[in-house]
């Protein structure tokens, strides 16, 4: 299987967008190479804006550019943007409903050796509570490319979460706002994942299938707005949901789904994610294992979900 980082798909898409639309502008805060915007910068130097290490100013400049008709992509690490400039994103961008695309790269625990300061595990929570904001977390480089091309056309702001590590390329088709059922072994539990952990989730589903537990796997790349139809149908069909994400359990994709279910179709849920803890230095796979986001932990969560499903049936 081919391995690529989601940020690489983003970089490729930007060059295509630059050719298609002269209003695309790209900004970075001293991270052109690692956020993969340097190809755009070389090709369209007049539309590339280096802001230096100043994420707040970058967000404000992007708001001004958008107010004057541009479609700005602001690229940095997720811990800095939106980590450092949330107020600017809230006030200058979201309240004005301007089409600024906030690209949070190097998100999640998997940046590994850099340690907790650089492991963005709160960014989805911060972004999805903002009115007007769209939130997208692609699972692989191909989806990241497709997502980048699509979000350029949204009339309002968008947050796109990207990662550094090379991760498996999964064959998936991306439609903004439409959750995709990637695998459907059966209806014991619905696994809902986003980001590169979709791959670990698929592995878990296959191993569970060999053990006789039949699950479906949904790639829920668009966290806001949620694909209510697909997700509620999965809840009805399976009666139990496990969410999988490289983010704090609080406030992330799992929380978004729990809000949806609580209001529409209360369903037992298990969360795979960061358990209210900071990360640390280490290799990505070591960290995912230690903090409960590995394939084996996903399988354990599925089994817990099934046991809760039984309890509810017995109790009713």
């Amino acid at each position: 299987m081919n391995n690529l980082a989601t940020r690489e798909g983003y970089g490729e898409a930007l060059v295509e967008l630059g050719e298609q639309n002269k209003n695309i502008v790209v900004l970075t805060a001293d991270l052109a190479d690692s956020t993969k915007v340097s190809d755009f910068a070389k090709k369209f130097p007049e539309r590339f804006i280096e802001c230096g290490v100043a994420e707040q100013n970058m967000a404000g400049i992007a708001a001004g550019l958008a107010a004057a008709g541009k479609i700005p992509f602001i690229s940095s690490y997720a811990v800095f943007s939106p980590g450092r400039n949330w107020d600017q994103i809230r006030v200058s961008i979201c309240y004005s409903n301007l089409p600024v695309k906030v690209i949070g790269c190097h998100a999640g625990l998997s940046v590994g050796p850099d340690g907790a300061t650089h492991q963005a595990l709160e960014d989805v929570a911060m972004m999805r509570v903002l009115p007007n904001m769209t939130v997208v977390v692609p699972c692989d480089a191909g989806e990241a490319k497709q997502a980048t091309l699509e979000i350029a056309g949204i009339a309002g702001p968008c947050y796109l979460r990207l990662t550094r590590e090379k991760t498996p390329v999964i064959n998936c088709s991306f439609t903004l706002g439409k959750a995709e059922i990637l695998e459907n072994f059966g209806y014991d539990v619905a696994l809902v994942a986003c980001g590169p952990l979709v791959y670990q989730t698929l592995l878990a589903a296959r191993e569970l299938n060999d053990e006789g537990i039949k699950t479906m796997v949904i790639n829920n790349h668009t966290i806001k707005p949620l694909d209510k139809i697909t997700l509620l149908k999965a809840a009805r069909d399976c009666g139990a949901i496990v969410t999988v994400e490289e983010h704090q359990m609080a406030g992330g994709m799992g929380s978004a789904i729990s809000e949806l279910l609580a209001m529409n179709y209360p369903t037992p849920m298990e969360f795979v994610g960061m358990p209210d803890h900071f990360g640390e230095s280490g290799q990505p796979e070591e960290l995912l294992a230690k903090y409960g986001m590995s394939t084996s932990k996903i399988k354990e969560a599925v089994k817990r979900a099934i046991s809760r499903k039984v309890v509810i049936i017995n109790g009713s």
Partner: protein, 277 residues
């Protein structure tokens, strides 16, 4: 400039009426900036047309310290951007005159502002878009002095200086007050002009109540092609209302009815110098 001074005084009367009707809001800053706003919207120094407020070629005026918006709203209404009757809806439910300005909620309102320190970055973005498009418009960013205590401004000042954004002009309301007291006690800004010069800005200092001088400075900035310009407008907070002038306690509160009667008497008699007709 007598005519323009009269307009500025009418704007001050509007501000008092708006604040007393709203029952909340800021008094000192809006009164202090009435002459600057008059210079911007009632002279020919800038390309602004209330009948075509979103003309692509217009000059852009952004307000960073959004809390002084009563002066912006009153000026826009008097200039004909929207119906003057609407000014008394300030801060009321359903109004377009939000407590802090909201992007394009009203004709002429070019940006969202309020949380301090964000406007200059927005103005840079607007200026850069013009540069990319080979457009000639100028961008004016109105700011307060104390908001320069927000770090984002210095990121923006550095950026504009580095990129020699000569179509950008910042106008700072140097009234020396903020909520907790005098700026130089709370967190000193001086030497303010030298700070801007060190960041590659041109600096012009004006009496913020001399409308001719303000217009002159805006025009002078147009002739500078090397770098961005900051106009430091020295103003008296609460200008025109004797009991508010220079008193920082009027920064963040509105007049009550009794205060308003006295304030309007001051404004209509120019502090007792003329009889009110």
């Amino acid at each position: 400039m007598t005519d323009l001074s009269e307009i500025a005084n009418k704007i001050r009367e509007d501000i008092i009426a708006m604040l007393v009707a709203a029952g909340s809001g800021h008094s000192a800053g809006p009164l202090g900036m009435a002459d600057v706003f008059t210079a911007i919207y009632f002279s020919q120094a800038l390309n602004l047309n209330p009948k075509n407020p979103w003309d692509p070629n217009r000059d852009r005026v952004l307000l960073s310290n959004g809390h002084i918006c009563p002066v912006w709203y009153a000026t826009l209404a008097r200039a004909g951007y929207f119906n003057h009757d609407e000014i008394l809806t300030l801060r009321k439910i359903g109004t377009r005159l939000q407590g802090h300005p909201h992007y394009r909620e009203l004709p002429g309102v070019e940006n969202t502002g309020g949380p301090l320190g964000q406007g200059l970055s927005q103005a840079i973005g607007v200026t850069l878009a013009g540069q990319i498009n080979n457009a000639d418009y100028r961008t004016i960013c109105l700011m307060s002095d104390a908001e320069l205590q927000e770090g984002q401004n210095w990121e923006a000042i550095m950026f504009a200086g580095k990129n020699s954004l000569f179509r950008l002009t910042a106008i700072i309301d140097r009234n020396n007050i903020q909520i907790d007291g005098f700026t130089e006690n709370v967190m000193p800004l001086e030497p303010l002009a030298d700070k801007f010069k060190a960041f590659n800005w041109s600096v012009i200092e004006v009496d913020g109540h001399n409308i001719a001088e303000i217009i002159n400075a805006i025009n002078k900035a147009k002739a500078i092609f090397e770098n961005p310009t900051v106009i430091i407008a020295h103003t008296i907070p609460g200008k025109g209302v004797d009991f508010m002038e220079g008193d920082y306690t009027w920064h963040g509160k509105p007049p009550n009815w009794m205060d308003a009667v006295e304030a309007l008497r001051d404004l209509r008699t120019l502090g007792g110098k003329i009889n009110y007709e």
